[in-house]
Subunit: 219 residues, 2 copies
DNA sequence: TTACTGTCTGATCATCTGATCAGGCTTTCG
DNA sequence: CGAAAGCCTGATCAGATGATCAGACAGTAA
C-alpha cells in the first residue's frame, strides 16, 4: 500500500506531452507503432506483450513507456494511426467524385473501402477483437468509427428512406465499414449502439438472413 | 532448469482421463465450460484469466486444473462443446429436408444457421479472435470447421460448377459458416487454407467487392 | 570547456498468471 | 466400522507482465 505518491502530475515534467495526434517524422516512434499494430492485430491486446512489441521494433521495452504513457496509450495511438491511413487513402482514391450522383459515389466509395481493407486488415482485426469487450477500448473505437462514417451513414439513411437501398442497408454499411462480420456486427450489440437498429428483433434477424441469402445466391 | 520431472505420465494416474468428448451430466464441469465460453468470447484467450473463469463458475481456480489438464485444454473443450451445440441445433431444425431439392435445402440450412448464430455468437467470437493467430488454436478450429461444413461445401462446389450460384459463393459460404466477416475471412489467409481460393488475387477481391455491393444495394 | 536537453538502456519493482501440491470433505464399497 | 475413491480448496510455486528509476550516451548551446 502507501502507493508512494501520485501517478500523474508528480515528478518534474511527465516525460512527454503525451500527444495523440502528430505531424509524424519520428522514425523510432513509427517503428514502435508499426510493430504494435502487427502484434495487437495478431494476438489481441492482452495477448501482445510490451516486450514482444519492443523486440519487433528493435528497441528495449522501457522505451515504449518513454514514447507512450502506457500500453493502453500505445494501443490508442495505433488505432488513431490506422484510422488516419484509412481516411487518407479513401480521400485520395475518391477525389474525383465531386459531381457524381450520390448512389454511384457511394458504390465507388464502398468498393474502394473493400479494396483498402483487403490490403490493410490490421484495423479491422483490432476492432473485431474488441467486438464484445464493452470496456474503454471499444468505446474508443466507437468514437473513431462514428465521425469517420458519419457522412456515408447519413447518405445511406436517406437512400433507405427513399427506397433506393433496402432498409437494412445502413446496418450492413456499418459492418462493412468495420470490416467485420454480419453476424457479429449487424446482429451484435454494436449494431444497436451505432446504427440504432435492434439487433435482437426477429425482423432484423430475418432481414439479415435474407441479405445473406442474397449475397450467397447471387439474386 | 531441473524442472523436477516429467509433466505428464509422472505421478500415479494423471487425475483424469482427459476426455474431450463426453455424454455430459457433470454440472460443475458444465458450469465451468459455460463460464469459460463467456469469458473466452468476451476477452479472448489471453485476456481471460483462469481465476476470473473460476469465479464466474462459482468455484476455485485450482478446480479448473482438476477438470481440465490446462487452460488450453479448457479452451479446446469449449470449442468442442459449442460446435456440438451448433451441429445438434442444425440437425434438429433441418430434419424435414430429406427429399427437398439441394438448392432449396441449402438456402434453408443457411437461414437456420444465421438464426442460430444470431442467438449464439460465442463460437464465432472465439473464431474471430483467433482469425490471425496462426498458432495451434486456429489449427484446432480449422480441424473442427472443416468436417462440419464438408457436406455443404461439396454441395456449393457443385452448384458453382453448374452456374447455379456465383463462383465466389463457396468462399462466402465459409465466412458465413464461421460467422465472421467478408474482409477477414473471404479475403484473409484462412480463405486460402479452407476454400482453396487465392485471397490476394485481384479477381477474388473484385468478386468480393461485387458481392458486398450486391448485399448492400439489394440487386 | 561546461551545462543542458532529448533519447535510450539495464536493473528492478509489485502484481498477476497458470499450474502444482498436500490435505479436507463427502460418498461409496467392503 | 474402515478403506478407497471422487470432488474440491488453501497455500504456494516459478515465470511473465507492465511500469518505474537512475543513469548512460549523443547532440546542442553557452
Amino acid at each position: 500500500m502507501a502507493k508512494t505518491s501520485a501517478r500523474k502530475s508528480a515528478k518534474t515534467p511527465p516525460k512527454r506531452p503525451a500527444r495523440t495526434t502528430r505531424p509524424s517524422a519520428d522514425p523510432t516512434r513509427d517503428r514502435i507503432l508499426a510493430a504494435a499494430a502487427d502484434l495487437f492485430s495478431d494476438r489481441s491486446f492482452a495477448g501482445a506483450s510490451t516486450r514482444e512489441i519492443a523486440a519487433r521494433a528493435g528497441v528495449t521495452q522501457p522505451l515504449l513507456n518513454y514514447h507512450f504513457r502506457s500500453k493502453d496509450d500505445l494501443w490508442r495511438a495505433v488505432v488513431v494511426a490506422l484510422f488516419d491511413r484509412l481516411a487518407r487513402t479513401l480521400d485520395e482514391r475518391t477525389r474525383g467524385l465531386r459531381g457524381v450522383d450520390p448512389l454511384t459515389s457511394a458504390k465507388l466509395r464502398v468498393r474502394e473501402f473493400v479494396v483498402f481493407s483487403a490490403h490493410n486488415p490490421q484495423l479491422h482485426r483490432i476492432i473485431m477483437q474488441e467486438s464484445k469487450a464493452d470496456g474503454p477500448r471499444m468505446d474508443y473505437i466507437a468514437e473513431h468509427v462514428r465521425p469517420f462514417y458519419a457522412a456515408t451513414t447519413a447518405l445511406f439513411a436517406r437512400l433507405a428512406r427513399e427506397g433506393t437501398v433496402p432498409p437494412i442497408a445502413p446496418a450492413h454499411l456499418f459492418y462493412i465499414l468495420t470490416g467485420a462480420g454480419p453476424t457479429m456486427f449487424v446482429l451484435g450489440p454494436e449494431c444497436r449502439r451505432l446504427s440504432g437498429l435492434d439487433p435482437t428483433s426477429d425482423a432484423v434477424i430475418e432481414a439479415h438472413a435474407d441479405a445473406v441469402c442474397l449475397l450467397l445466391f447471387g439474386r
